[in-house]
Symmetry: D2
Subunit: 373 residues, 4 copies
Amino acid sequence: MTPLRLGMVGGGQGAFIGAVHRMAARLDGHWNLVAGAFSSDPARAHKSAAELGVDPARSYDDFATMAGKEAARDDRIDAVAIVTPNHMHAPAAIAFLEAGIPVICDKPLTATQDQADELAAVVRRTGTPFFLTHNYTGYPLIREARAMIARGDLGRLRVIQAEYAQGWLAEPIESDGQKQAAWRTDPARSGAGGAIGDIGTHALNLITFVTGKQPNALSAELTCFGEGRTLDDNAHISLRFETGARGQIWASQVAVGCENGLRLRIYGEKGGLEWAQENPNQMRLTRLGQPAVWMTRAGDGTSGQATRLPAGHPEGYLEAFATLYSEIAQCLRGDEDAAILLPGLDAGLEGMAFIAACVASSSNDGVWVALAR
Amino acid sequence: MTPLRLGMVGGGQGAFIGAVHRMAARLDGHWNLVAGAFSSDPARAHKSAAELGVDPARSYDDFATMAGKEAARDDRIDAVAIVTPNHMHAPAAIAFLEAGIPVICDKPLTATQDQADELAAVVRRTGTPFFLTHNYTGYPLIREARAMIARGDLGRLRVIQAEYAQGWLAEPIESDGQKQAAWRTDPARSGAGGAIGDIGTHALNLITFVTGKQPNALSAELTCFGEGRTLDDNAHISLRFETGARGQIWASQVAVGCENGLRLRIYGEKGGLEWAQENPNQMRLTRLGQPAVWMTRAGDGTSGQATRLPAGHPEGYLEAFATLYSEIAQCLRGDEDAAILLPGLDAGLEGMAFIAACVASSSNDGVWVALAR
Amino acid sequence: MTPLRLGMVGGGQGAFIGAVHRMAARLDGHWNLVAGAFSSDPARAHKSAAELGVDPARSYDDFATMAGKEAARDDRIDAVAIVTPNHMHAPAAIAFLEAGIPVICDKPLTATQDQADELAAVVRRTGTPFFLTHNYTGYPLIREARAMIARGDLGRLRVIQAEYAQGWLAEPIESDGQKQAAWRTDPARSGAGGAIGDIGTHALNLITFVTGKQPNALSAELTCFGEGRTLDDNAHISLRFETGARGQIWASQVAVGCENGLRLRIYGEKGGLEWAQENPNQMRLTRLGQPAVWMTRAGDGTSGQATRLPAGHPEGYLEAFATLYSEIAQCLRGDEDAAILLPGLDAGLEGMAFIAACVASSSNDGVWVALAR
Amino acid sequence: MTPLRLGMVGGGQGAFIGAVHRMAARLDGHWNLVAGAFSSDPARAHKSAAELGVDPARSYDDFATMAGKEAARDDRIDAVAIVTPNHMHAPAAIAFLEAGIPVICDKPLTATQDQADELAAVVRRTGTPFFLTHNYTGYPLIREARAMIARGDLGRLRVIQAEYAQGWLAEPIESDGQKQAAWRTDPARSGAGGAIGDIGTHALNLITFVTGKQPNALSAELTCFGEGRTLDDNAHISLRFETGARGQIWASQVAVGCENGLRLRIYGEKGGLEWAQENPNQMRLTRLGQPAVWMTRAGDGTSGQATRLPAGHPEGYLEAFATLYSEIAQCLRGDEDAAILLPGLDAGLEGMAFIAACVASSSNDGVWVALAR
């Protein structure tokens, strides 16, 4: 099967997530990177293009030019990946959506609610496919957990504990010019959320994806520990669900010793499960009255969905990310079923509502705030 | 050294914690059990005494008789352990305190605040020694963590995550006559707190013990999932500390798959540590900018305090509990230093204030409630 | 029930295993220590006795005197624990056995085969009860594993991997006067085996206890890494069983980073299990074609035998050791069933044969040596 | 940078390792698959080619045709990956080597020593680059361990424990037509080694790679448990090194509950380390007299070599494999340093000598056999 053609906005030299998108796109052979506006600095953009083996004719000065020129080509890109800081998601995405080019956008959706509303309107009006890379949904055992809960294995859910603990911002490294830290701690580029936007939205998304339910209200305590910082770098959130379930989220960027500690624990009337991203090939499952079972990716007792390798050969972050890219490819090739599990505009809007609700609650002494649907 | 003489109130046949106290008292050879009022049912009490090898002459019908008669003996007991359901702690303790007999009381302090106030007044007036068995403070690595934090190894503390997750009350087993479940879910015998009283107070106590700080305010969401239950069996609590630190407690009795999941994680400006009671011989410590270290009980890099065995020979729950009993013995023999780490009336009052604040906050939609000092 | 009276030979100040025996004996309340010859140095012996609260009249200068005087008392000891270095096991045990006093002997049985033969003859002739404290057999999940294998849960066994890895002798600390190291590395006090005698016999015993089978031949490579040492401090052993099963033992005292790494893995046609002493409250069990299950001590799916506490409250080394003492007490009180799982003379002779076979094989370039039965 | 052109022999529909090679080749963008002889059955080969998007003009009936035609093209492949069953490695590799096309060969080198000798002669004569995909050498922490040992962090090595435990052949699934099992248990296609060839060689290679030393002698006990099987499915091997170090290998395909349990433990005079492939992002390191440290891939204290992602974002089997492909690309582009860590002919011959020595020792009752250099 011929690979699809991928374009990219952002992701030039020194970027983290752009390189991740490229590896993820390549892994299963469904995508070739053929065009890009890799930086807001054109010189840097073209240098990055050269390094990436992208035809200079398709290395663009800016995303607007790129959207226009690509839309005009017969061999136009099949989709564009937007991997800029958050504040550029909306303008870039809109340019491509208007040009009829499907968009694969990094999360969170946008920096502000206004941008989100504008983007949502364009997605809805144009009908151009729009995907949001909440990549942790690509982990096979997360898919397995979702299926188990959907078919009632855990019974009615009661308690949901999610956490995403990192320690890399324990010190104010943004002052020392660390590029990844700089934009993430800058409200102008990140939006109203610090830790809650960057990682809290992942925790929320994972809850929603796995349980099939969004919380309907939350109470948040956002804190900012890093010297000179204005955005939260630690968040404690309590959750209520319409079904009566209750939950907590802890998101932190100052938890020294934590690397990328995304962890999900879910308890229902008939069972409980636990999964941690740093060892994603295992999931602990307990059925009421029985000893705990360790499911392994592709191992006995699993469906083996969304995996490439036999059990015991660890898959990781890039494989999970690649699953999204492969399903997007299938989807763009016309396989409607492939879209079922792919996060898109709704997941993005849920994330924005979550950030807004956290900020509103925290600035009002933790009052419970409804999460709009 | 001659062992001290121990009496016991409660802890007859079918009890759990009474047997634990007896094993803990015996382990290091500092105590002999010589007297008791082992049940509110005299027949059962005497039968238990016989099984325990207690002289029938010192097996009493009730605690009041016991306090009176023991106080009158030359070979009177050196202390009494009170291991009844919560609502009996205060009357029994008061009887012995008034008789000048030191009291070793299980937690939480009492079932009601009124009882707590009355008991506190007696402790203060009589000056009779009073100990509360917050046993998890006896774990060697918890002691180690306390010392590390006290000397500033973690720097100024920022985030404190405590949890105590159990699953044994996932179903309403109290309806089936399970004795342990029956009194714990009964407000008349337990007091206003369900999970928060039975296990939440342990989590709070561990935070206070290890960090040297009590939270000064909390916001709580108490939930009751078990059918027909009136006391909380799940609690989500956010914490504020005067120092600016923030924290969360999760206490649950309905988390299927969790056995006795007491876990503490603490993050400061210069380091982080993690400890879990189910594998208490290890503690994960990370110093800023360094890889994580696994300290082991009595292992390299530890002080070896409060341990009996070389590293690698696991100690557990009973050993930690025994450390309290041994320190109480030392204390009663006149070693004042031995009392330094022992929980007593203050810890008990803190626990009562915590239960009250949780109930007040939760019944008022999670409003932040100050914790009295 | 009145506790039995325990005497002790060895175990004075500075000893390790003597203190362990005393704690183990006390834990369940079945024993009181009332007599002893606590050291080969009488002054030290009496000082230890005083510290231990033993009546000076029953603190003896030597084991021979003790055996004679105790045998003559109406309130003579019910058993004696022998916790000296290996070379003294036989003479001390024989003295008590001849006096009709039951013996609880630390392992390995003796320092030499001649001693073992002499001791065995006395045990057989006198019929006096003789127990050997292969304490790891007291772990509840080891008992569980034994029962599972006995009833065929794993099917016909194929592969057995045992290891006992320590690192405490990585450096020649015996030269610096470390008492525990000094006698263990001294052939005159330990016998022909270094690591194989001190810890290899535990690994062998655990295999035999759990599988119900002794290997019938072995090939060994004993090595001595510590400077100036003459006994093995590392052993690699291959095993053959009559049933066709095959196995390996690795025992080491120079594995830096290992504390007390006794570990057992057993694989049969229908399942496999894995257990490690340093986290003894869990056992991994896999049934063919199913995901792995983590059994927990006293947890769902276990028989709960030989445990004191609910699941999740960790028990450890002392509790396992105490189970032996409690079963010995039951046994001496006339409960014959209590003796079923207790290691005794046979286990001791198997250990001696194992040491001899390892030495013979290793000194003959690893030739396979039959294990006498 | 323009990707290199990759050809492939074997790896058609239903193959396992061919798909792995393709993903590994794609991940970092250094290779495009452009040609192949994907099966010994031409129809199947062409069907596979179509699925893989390979130009029909470059889908060949057999490897000989492919080698000839590709060698004649201007845009000939830059290398060929040989991913057939073992017995076809030599003829296919020789055809390409003679045609001057670099070869990337799966392990073990060949099915027989004669084939190995012939292949070695061709590699040496032609000077055409030859790589062997001992993929586990690509794991970042394995590279880290190698560097640590090379610079003496562990001191003089003493004990080396390697194991590779799988359970997938516990039952004779080769009889049921499981393709992967069928050729691996067939001496005609696998050669003289079963488990030792398929996975034992990986364990050996990892030892050699990490320690920089090959064992100089071994004693082996090969066993065959699976009904109707003639090749070993379990191997117990003792190792001697010229330096005095000693080791054990355990390789098994019948260890129920083990998935892909490759594990390496190394102990020297000054430290010890432990690594397990199923959780490859962590490595336990203990320096003498200090508590154990958990190094994480790309985490604090590591060099970060051969990694793509920040610590905490797990990389796995494919990433390690991809590192080999990327280094091969660099190497073929002229970067000589890139070849330093790449396994090639020598590693292959070492593996063959290992298989031969295991068979010789085991068939002679475990006599020690020298490993030729």
